[in-house]
């Protein structure tokens, strides 16, 4: 295309400049960046809370932090890390990279994704403002009733927690629907299902898990708010409710939740292992099937969080079996990664160092998980620091280490600058050492009887030395994170400009500029194999014929990605923000009175009418009415023309 045409195309796809317009952006790369930055911000806040906890626990009978504040801190730490960091950051990576990896210029339902970002942000602000107003939740990130019922928590604290759930679950569900639709319907021609990158498969599998798991916690938190606000009796035993109902509903969500966090991590690892072994992933089919198997089986484990409640032994044994057997698909992925590295030529750049850290940390965490799956062992280890060690090993090992690897890998693409190999090596080493110093002693502490969620412990119990070591380790981890921030700031200012494909990787996001042009792909490539940048023939067709005056995207068939129709995507719009503000108002209002639901819905309705009301003819769309003859095919009708590769 000519330079003028390219300029027109980029102008169509650009985010409009200016402060007011910042609130109208809907492009997936912009929203993806915001997700990543905001989630990382919550990671830092959660880390500060963790540092406060480690400070308090560093010595026995410490009085730096009162019990009430400590309970708010550990609850907010867990809630932040699980709901405001781990899931949003993985979804943020998906929002940015899934469309690029499938060769699409935009994500499906961009305004919905923008809305979800605002809901995520407002929910997090709501939580932290409440915390600063001494109304932060204080009954643990899983908020068990009856402790969370109004009789034992009369303040608004538990309602803040329950409504934060609603904010973040709405956001996650929205992104999940968009990612699934993108991966199924917006793939570039030639990208049949067996050519979809493993990272995209991981995001799709995760998104399906989100759709099936999050309704459980939404139902639970809504029921809790109802118990507290309008005197229903789901969970209080005084009036025929059942505290175990909460546990079943919560953990039906809670166990898949950790796989929702971990599976995108494995998608990152597959990507990095393949790129830095300089060869295609070994065992593509096995890995994809393992992802699907893990997702299915992840829904059958939840009772292993309830082994201490005295449920019948036969039932518990089923969940032990499932919890142990799920290690098989995970193990399959690990063996495939090892096989890839074994038969490839490994390049130890910083992203690959993070993969090594992942192996060291996650595998250990997975093995302690197998231990915890055993009921007799679990009745000793449950609710002790052994469990704290286990889940930090699998979550930090399985998600945070791959995430840092992803940052080092994709930072050049997102920002156009390279991070520093030297600083990155130091960050990785410091975090690895600091992490093990912090969390390995906790295995021993748990075996020595230290329970979770205690604001202090007596000196006579002999836990002081290991706790001090853990707290010192936490300081090392903090240094690592600080050094990472230094590296990021330095790179943004004076980092080396990044080429389009600094790692010689194979997936389509590397076929764009660094950072990508507003239109992502001036000439969207089609693909002829699973590793497009390695497999594509020199004359692999590029897609032409999409309009340049509106944001038009090619929609293809689900299975074989044959071209089907063109769709005009929305221009920047204020309605996602307006709807999010209205929704936030309704959510906050409704923890004070049930009428908040009724009256608060009215602004939401108005905002949604504005959202969906047709735009002017200049903003795109089909030809105005009346029309001479139809242009849209029926569901089973073949398109008039389109061409195949």
């Amino acid at each position: 295309m000519t330079a003028g045409e390219l300029e027109a195309l980029n102008r169509t796809w650009s985010d409009p400049p200016g402060f007011a317009s910042w609130f109208r952006h809907v492009d997936h790369r912009t929203i993806g960046r915001r997700y990543l930055v905001t989630a990382f911000g919550f990671f830092l806040l959660g880390g500060i809370l963790a540092a406060l906890m480690r400070l308090q626990l560093s010595r026995p009978d410490n009085t730096i932090i009162t019990p009430d504040l400590y309970n708010q801190i550990f609850t907010t730490h867990g809630t932040t890390m699980m709901f405001l960091f781990a899931v949003p950051v993985m979804q943020g990576l998906g929002v940015y990279f899934v469309p690029l990896m499938v060769g699409a210029r935009e994500i499906a339902f961009p305004r919905l994704v923008a809305y979800s970002y605002w809901m995520f942000l407002f929910g997090g602000i709501f939580l932290y403002v409440s915390f600063l107003l001494n109304a932060g939740p204080d009954v643990g990130w899983f908020s068990y009733p009856p402790l969370a019922e109004s009789l034992y928590t009369p303040s608004k604290r538990a309602d803040v927690w329950a409504q934060l759930i609603t904010f973040t679950e709405v956001a996650s569900l929205a992104v999940a629907v968009s990612l699934i639709t993108t991966a199924f319907k917006l793939r570039t021609p030639g990208m049949t299902l067996n050519r979809v990158p493993i990272f995209v498969w991981a995001q799709v599998v995760t998104s399906f898990m989100v759709l099936f798991a999050m309704p459980a916690v939404m139902l639970a938190s809504t029921s809790l708010i109802c118990d507290r606000l309008v005197n229903t009796h789901f969970f209080d035993p005084e009036q025929s409710g059942d505290p175990l109902l909460w546990q079943h509903l919560f953990w039906f969500f809670g166990h898949p939740e950790v796989y929702i966090i971990f599976i995108p991590g494995t998608g990152i690892v597959s990507t990095l292992v393949a790129t830095f072994s300089r060869r295609r992933m070994f065992g593509y089919l096995a890995v994809v099937l393992s992802l699907v198997a893990t997702a299915f089986m992840g829904f059958g484990l939840w009772v292993h969080h309830m082994f201490a409640t005295g449920l019948p032994q036969l039932g518990e044994s089923f969940f032990t079996a499932a919890s142990i057997i799920i290690a098989i698909p995970t193990g399959t992925q690990i063996f495939c990664w090892i096989a890839t590295m074994w038969s490839g030529k490994v390049v130890l750049k910083v992203p690959m160092l993070w993969v090594l850290g992942f192996f060291g940390v996650f595998v250990l965490g997975g093995l302690t998980g197998v231990m915890l799956a055993s009921v007799p062992l679990d009745t000793q280890l449950h609710d002790t620091f052994f469990v704290v060690a286990h889940f930090h090993y699998v979550l930090i090992g399985g998600a945070v280490f791959p995430l840092f690897g992803a940052f080092y890998y994709w930072f050049p693409k997102i920002t156009g600058r390279m991070l520093s190999e030297r600083l990155g090596t130091w960050v990785c080493g410091l975090l690895f050492v600091g992490f093990n110093l912090t969390f390995f002693p906790m295995h021993v502490l748990g075996l020595h009887g230290m329970p979770r969620r205690v604001y202090t412990y007596q000196a006579s119990l002999g836990w002081g030395d290991l706790n001090l070591m853990a707290s010192l380790g936490a300081a090392v981890m903090a240094c690592a994170v600080l050094l990472f921030l230094v590296d990021v700031i330095r790179a943004l200012r004076v980092g080396l400009p990044a080429p389009a494909n600094p790692w010689d990787a194979s997936t389509l996001e590397w076929a764009t500029d660094s950072p990508p042009a507003p239109c992502s792909f001036p000439l969207p490539p089609t693909v002829g194999g699973r590793e497009p940048l390695w497999d594509n023939a020199p004359d692999q067709p590029v897609v032409v014929g999409l309009r340049r005056d509106v944001r038009e995207v090619l929609v293809t068939h689900v299975l074989d990605a044959e071209p089907d129709h063109r769709k005009v995507f929305p221009a920047p719009s204020i309605w996602p923000l307006v709807t999010a503000i209205a929704t936030t108002g309704m959510f906050i209002w409704s923890i004070f009175t049930p009428w908040g639901v009724t009256y608060g819905s009215i602004p939401i309705f108005i905002a949604m009418v504005g959202w969906f009301w047709p735009k002017s003819p200049t903003e795109g769309g089909t030809r105005p009415w009346p029309i001479a003859h139809r242009t849209l095919p029926l569901p089973r009708e073949e398109p008039a023309a389109g061409g195949t590769i």
Binding site: F234, V542, G545, D564, T622
Partner: protein, 201 residues
């Protein structure tokens, strides 16, 4: 280096009906999410039933069959104008779309009003224990759907009457019909649970 070949998609249609449309997949997402929520609520219902000695508890009678059964019939009947609206949309027949959307709205008003009677004849207030709470939750969850179904169908109908009408607006009518089907069909097991389970247990 040879010039890349081109795949010219400019002749492709600017939209599509049915599962080819992106909106269909969005609706499918909603169906999965809400269907799971309903399923879990039904599961909670039967779980709580195992915890009480009698279900409904002593002194509480099951919900009156009359209004729930009437509403079930109204909901099932509403599938007829819904399907006719959907077919008219696929044919891009504006006149018929307007007629059948209006008929759908009449049904929507009816089943929302009858739902109020259902709530009043549940024979127990929500704060009388776990049975009452889960029954109100089940009925309440479904009611949010019949309300939103009515509202979004009303806005869509208004648009088709007042304009601006565009060709791809007919895809929206068709996809709305899909959501309507879900709301009606999801009601059937919930009706069975609320009205018949306490009588059969």
């Amino acid at each position: 280096m040879s010039e890349p070949r081109t795949l010219d998609v400019s002749a492709l249609p600017p939209g599509a009906f049915g599962p080819r449309a992106l909106t269909f997949w969005g609706t499918l997402g909603i169906v999965i999410i809400e269907g799971t929520a309903f399923g879990l609520a039904v599961g909670a219902y039967f779980y709580l039933a195992t915890r009480l000695p009698s279900w409904p508890p002593a002194g509480v009678s099951p919900p009156d069959l009359r209004w729930g059964t009437i509403n079930t019939l109204v909901l099932l009947a509403s599938m007829v104008p819904n399907e006719l609206a959907r077919r008219a949309a696929e044919k891009i027949d504006l006149r018929r779309v307007r007629i059948w959307l209006a008929v759908c709205l009449v049904f929507a008003v009816a089943f929302n009003v009858i739902r109020i009677f259902e709530f009043r004849h549940l024979n127990v207030w929500w704060n009388r224990g776990a049975y009452a709470s889960i029954v109100w939750m089940l009925l309440g969850l479904h009611s949010t759907h019949i309300v939103t179904d009515f509202l979004d169908s009303a806005v869509l109908a208004a648009l088709m009457f007042v304009g601006p009408v565009e060709e791809h607006r007919f895809v929206d009518v068709e996809e709305n019909a899909v959501y309507w089907y879900f709301v009606v069909l999801a009601w059937l097991p919930i009706y069975g649970v609320i009205y018949w389970a306490p009588r059969l247990m």
